[in-house]
Structure formats: C-alpha cells, structure tokens
Amino acid sequence: MTEPTATMINEQKLYKAWGLSEAEFKIICDKILHRLPNYTEAGLFSVMWSEHCSYKNSKNVLRKFPNKGKRVLAGPGEDAGIIDIDDNQAVVFKAESHNHPSAVEPYQGAATGVGGIIRDIFSMGATPIAMLNSLKFGNLTDEHTKYLANEIVAGIGGYGNCIGIPTVGGEISFQERYKNNPVVNAMCVGLINNSDIKYGKAKGENNLIIYVGAKTGRDGIHGATFASDEFTDDNKSQRSAVQVGDPFMEKLLMDACIELVQEHSDWIMGIQDMGAAGLVSSTAEMASKAESGLVLELDQVPQRETNMTPYEIMLSESQERMVLCAKPQYRDEIIKFFNDAGLDAVVIGKVTADKQYKIYQHGELVTDIPVAGLVDDSPEYVHEGQTPKRLLSENYQEQYVPQVSSLSKTWLELLKQPNIASKEYFYQTYDSQIKANTVVKPGSDATVVRVRGTRKALAMTNDGNSKLVYVDPYVGGQIAIIEASANLIASGSEPVGITDCLNYGNPEKPEVFWEFNRSVEGMASVCETLELPVISGNVSLYNEFNDEAIYPSPMIGMVGLTKDLDDVTTQGFKNDGDAIYLVGTTKNDYNGSEIQLMQTGDVKGSLNEIDLAQIKANQKQILQAIQAGLIASCHDVSEGGLAVALAEAAFENQLGFEVKTSLTSEEIFSETTGRFLVSVKADQKAAFEKLFNDDIEFLGTVSNEQTLRLTTSNSDANVDLNEALKNWKEAIPCLMK
C-alpha cells in the first residue's frame, strides 16, 4: 500500500475518517505546522487529539472536581494519582474503562483493560496490591449478555490471577441499556514509599529514550479513536482494534520495573507505560511534561511484523510495553538488567532541547512537529447541554409508591433481583487472597487489605448506581460519592481519595452532555463537602449502540485509610443478643430504586434533595464509634433499602434477628441514602446511644434463631433465614445456567 500524500489527505479530507474535524485540521495546518501534515503526522494528531487522549470534550467538566488536599502527592495528569498514608508511605490508584474492546472481544478486551491499569500503577514506581472492577451488563435473561458476562469476568480473572494481584472487589449490575455496550471499568491500587515516586518525564538533553517489553505489532491500531467512537450494527463487523493480552510478559515487566525504581532509581529520569495510542502518546506526553523535544529512530523499535510503516509503529497498541527516560551513562546496565529479566530493552531515541517531536525511519525524517502542538494544543469544546426530555415530563417529581401486599413475598422477591443478589458466582473466579493481605474479602461493603508490616490497612470500593444517575443526574451523582464513602466508613476506614471512570454516551448530543455535566456537578458537590479529592480517573464517551446511549454511568473508586486493624468492621451481625440500630432518617425515596424496577420494569422520577451536612455528620460519628470500639457490625443501606440491608447483615454469619420498626412496609424498601445499619454489643448500648442521640432508631436484637422476624408499623414477616439466603445466593448461578 502506498500512503496518501499530504495533498490527498487535505483535498480528499481523509483525516475525517480518523476523527479529525475540518476545523481541527485547519488548526494543525495553519497554527501549528504552517504546512500540510503528511500521512504519519496527520495520524499522530488524530490519535493525540481524540477524546481518549486529549479529553477535549470533557476537560472543562472535569475541572469541577476538587483535586487538592493535604494528603495529595500527585493528582490528575500523571499515570495515576498518589495519596499520602503516613510513615513515608503512599497509596497510588487509578481506574480505566475498556468498554468498547470488551464489547467486541470480551475476554481479551477485559483482560487488556486490566493489563493497562496495572501498568499505570507500576509506572509510578508503585507495587500493585489490589484490583477492583465495575461491570454493567444487559439482563441475564439474554444469551449474548450471559456470554459477555462470562467472558469479561473470565478475562479480568485470567489476567489478574496470572499476574498475581488479588482482585478484591467491585460491583456488577444489570440493565437492558447495557446489552450491546457493556461497561467494563477496572481499578488498580498500589503501594509506594514516598521516596520512590517516579513521574513520566523525558527530561534533560541527550538523555535516552528506552523501549522495554513486548514487540510492536499491527494490533490495536487506532484503538484510542476506536474508544471514542460510537457503535452501530454496521461497524460491529468492521471491528479490528483488538489486542491479545500477555499477563506472563506483564508480570516480568512489572517485577523488573518495580525493582528498577526501588534499587536503581538513579539510572532513570522517568518511566511511563504505553497505553492508548501507544508509542506516540507515551513519548510525546513525557516530552511535554518536561518541556523537551524528542528524536525517535523507528528502526530500533522491536517489531513483531515486517514492513511496518511509521504510522503503524507509532499508533500500535500492542500491550505490555513501557518507555523509560534514562541517563546515558547507565545505558548498558539498564539493557542488561532487563535482558536478565527476559525482556527486550532498546534505545530508540533521545531527549532534545528544541521542543520538536522528530521521527526517523530508514534514515529519513518522517515527522517533525512541535511537541506542544501535539499534546497541549488540542482544542477544547464547551458543549451546550439540554435537559433530557424524560426529566421534563409531567409528574416527574412524584414519588413512586411501592405495592407491598405481602411483606415477606416482596422481601424474598427483591433478594432474588440480579442487582441485589450475591455476585459470588462471578467474584469467586478472581483470586482475592493472593499475597495473604486481604482482611475483608469480597462480599462486605468494602474490601480491606492490610499494609504488611504495619497496623494500617486500606479499604476500597467501586460504586455508582446508574439507575439513580439516569433518573436524576445531579442527585444520582451525589449519591454515587456518598455511597462509596459510606462503604468505606462502614468498614472502619477514613476515605482519603477518589478515582473515577465516567461512562456516558455521545457528548455532542446536548442531552447526553447535560447528563454528563450535571452528574459531575452533583459528584463534585459531595467531594467538596466531604473533602475528598479526585486524584485520577478516566472518561469513556460515545457509549452508544444504534444511537441509544447507555445510562449515564459514573463509577467511583474510593480508597480509605484504616488507622488500625482493630477498626476493621464488616457488615454481618456478630453475636446473639446484640442490639440493632438504624442510623439516619428514612424518607420516601422510591424513584430509581430496585423495588420500582422490580415492580414496574423501569426506573423514573426525580430524587429528593439531600442534606449533605447531616450525611457528613453521621458518617463522621459512625467512624468515631467504630474507632471507639462501640460497633460490632456496620452496613450502609443502599439498593433495596433497610429490608435488604438487614438480610445481608444476617447472611454473613447466618444469624437471625427480631426487628420492630416504626417504618411502614413500604418505607422498609426506601433507598434514602446516607443511612447505616449497625449492631452493638448489649453492654455498649448506652455508650452508643449517647453518641447518636437524634438520628437513630433502635430496631431490635440479633438472634441465634435461623429466622428473620420483621415487624413494621403496618405488617409483619417471619422469613426463614435459609430460604432468604438461598434466594439471594442462587439467583445468579441459576440465571447463568
């Protein structure tokens, strides 16, 4: 194939097929290059200016998130954010979406998503210690959805289990809207000593650019723009941007990079992974951060295939590759170091002072463009939003009223709903225990991983109830943060920071943009109140199939610092005779709830305003009560309301309860956010009640009996614990058969 000339690209507007607009192309020609770009150059601009790399549609919205705080050591802009956890230690984390690749090749798409997020963590010099994932699928009654769910979960497990990082938590939900566009978000958490932190910078004239890891092939070319593309039935068959992950190679790469940073920190200036848009994005960003230029010699790049063009080499998204910026005097040591680890390492270029990005192949200069133009000068779009029509319909303010003719029947039925039922069938396929640090395993509100050699632990969770964001983006966004925070608090941990994946439809559509913007405003408002910085994240837009967007689906990944292992708390009741309390006031919150979905097959109606000050106060009190040793178990109340929270608290240790509440049989299913279900040892009741004089209700006691006894103000139910447990545990395995 001969490449089109610069003139052809211009005249036939070939750049459009790569996602560059006419206006953008004009900026490149007139403002940046003052000439026409050749084929390679146009290709580089098209990926670097894609939404995935440049955030041109979302930057403006993302600025609404607070990202500073006294513990923040690195925020957005690096491969991952870093939060100080005292004693010269820090936690590093980030989340990444792989929705489109997973729709096309579910196993490999999910697996390479995991591989990518792990590289983001160890490229900061950190040791990955845990992974989480957030998955959203269509309904499990659909065969294709079952196939996607099985393969995606297998891909996540396959990669994580092989590389040996425990996958400790996450969330899985089901809704028709994700049928053809599943959401696959993966998060990785790492630990680092503050003195080992490395940034992705290509600094210092004549320093070397070294390529490490797998060879470059023609796979995944244009993956970055692919990720920013909508799906239709049409291009379902034209899909080509699929890569195969090699977790074995990544394990070698990870161990070597961590050892390099810990033992030979002086050899290198910076290190970065090759993620989306491969070689070009990693090297250009490293140069941009250091305000340097670069020269690359493509003949040196290890290649798996023959006759690759500069365009292909630069844009390839072959996996398991890293770039280093290193001091020339250590060249031989570095190459030997990697070779001994069974890895390719070659010098492919060097840092220059002229701030130009120059690429040579076969001795010929094939690209010569300003680094800043490529990385920083991408346009930024501020879209006009428009309130979605569904939110403007008449009676949208009205609350749904659940129909509860039989309390026990509704209760049992709800426990079977896939969104509520146990997800063990899936998470059991993840090795959650490797490294022997997992103190609270999947199945409670948050997972807790100890920091070996200290009394500290880290709690982590993924949350984002997209049904609520869909019915009311602002309040739904607020609830996403509140819930994540509540999950950590309930585990006895103090939330310290957030990463996110923002999964939405096409932002060029005013209604989609409005959802995006409003939900971020909602989330940001809670981040401000709870003083939680957003230190990293990822945006995945254009999640549409045949023009229909997924639900607005922000995923919140939150990490908490547990000061002492004694504070670790789980959701399950512990002892016969413990007193049970509900903390927080219950209101009529049925819109967007599981009971609304179960009873009507749909979710709609706006959400009630939230009293953030009250929520903050309750969360603070709960954490204090846990730290004071007053609480035996703690569970945040969310999907399915108090009824489901009570049942889940009973399941963990198979203890029954006797509860009598002032709530009605309808209110027991209300999903008012910010509430906690707590159990307290009998002899600590007084001390506990004193801490929470107002906003609590005494519900009853935990019992050894295998029965869930619940009396509401207008009905009662006696449910066999084992029957309830069976409904909850077997619903998903049964659907997956």
Partner: protein, 84 residues
C-alpha cells in the same frame, strides 16, 4: 455420523503469547532449528445424522462461537467415520 475437525488460530498479525512461550521452551531444550510455533485450538465435532445443512451449520458454529473473526481464523475438514 460425521466427524468434523476444526482448527482455530490467531490471525497472523495477532500476538500469540502461548506460541511464543512454547517456542522459547523448545529452544531451551536445544531444538534451535525450530523457527516458529503458533498455538491454536482444535475441535473434534461429531454430528449425528446426515442433515443437508451440516456444512452450513458448522460454519455458523465456527463464526459465532468457536472463532472470533476479529482476531482468529478457522479451517475445518470433514471426516466420514463409521463409528464414534
């Protein structure tokens, strides 16, 4: 009874980490003449009766299940077999 053998391999341009690992191991055993190893999947499918659409059926099964056309290619052959 018809026996169908199906071979599924990655497309040439796609990384085959398993094949690579096996090749290295073979070199480690001293067989340096081995230039390349690609690893794929192999299926033996026994089909009952002599449905006239058997060939079509096998192709559908391959296209939709056994191989992912995004990264794999397949090949099949029919072997008449008197017994299972």
């Amino acid at each position: 009874m018809t026996l169908v053998k199906v071979y599924v391999t990655y497309k040439k341009s796609i990384l085959d980490p398993q094949g690579e690992a096996v090749k290295k191991a073979v070199h480690g055993m001293g067989f340096n003449d081995v230039e390349d190893i690609r690893m794929g999947k192999y299926f033996e499918i026994s089909v009952d009766g002599d449905s006239p659409t058997v060939k079509e059926d096998i192709e559908t099964i391959c296209d939709q299940l056994l191989a992912n056309p995004n990264m794999e290619t397949y090949r099949y052959e029919f072997v008449e077999s008197e017994e299972v």
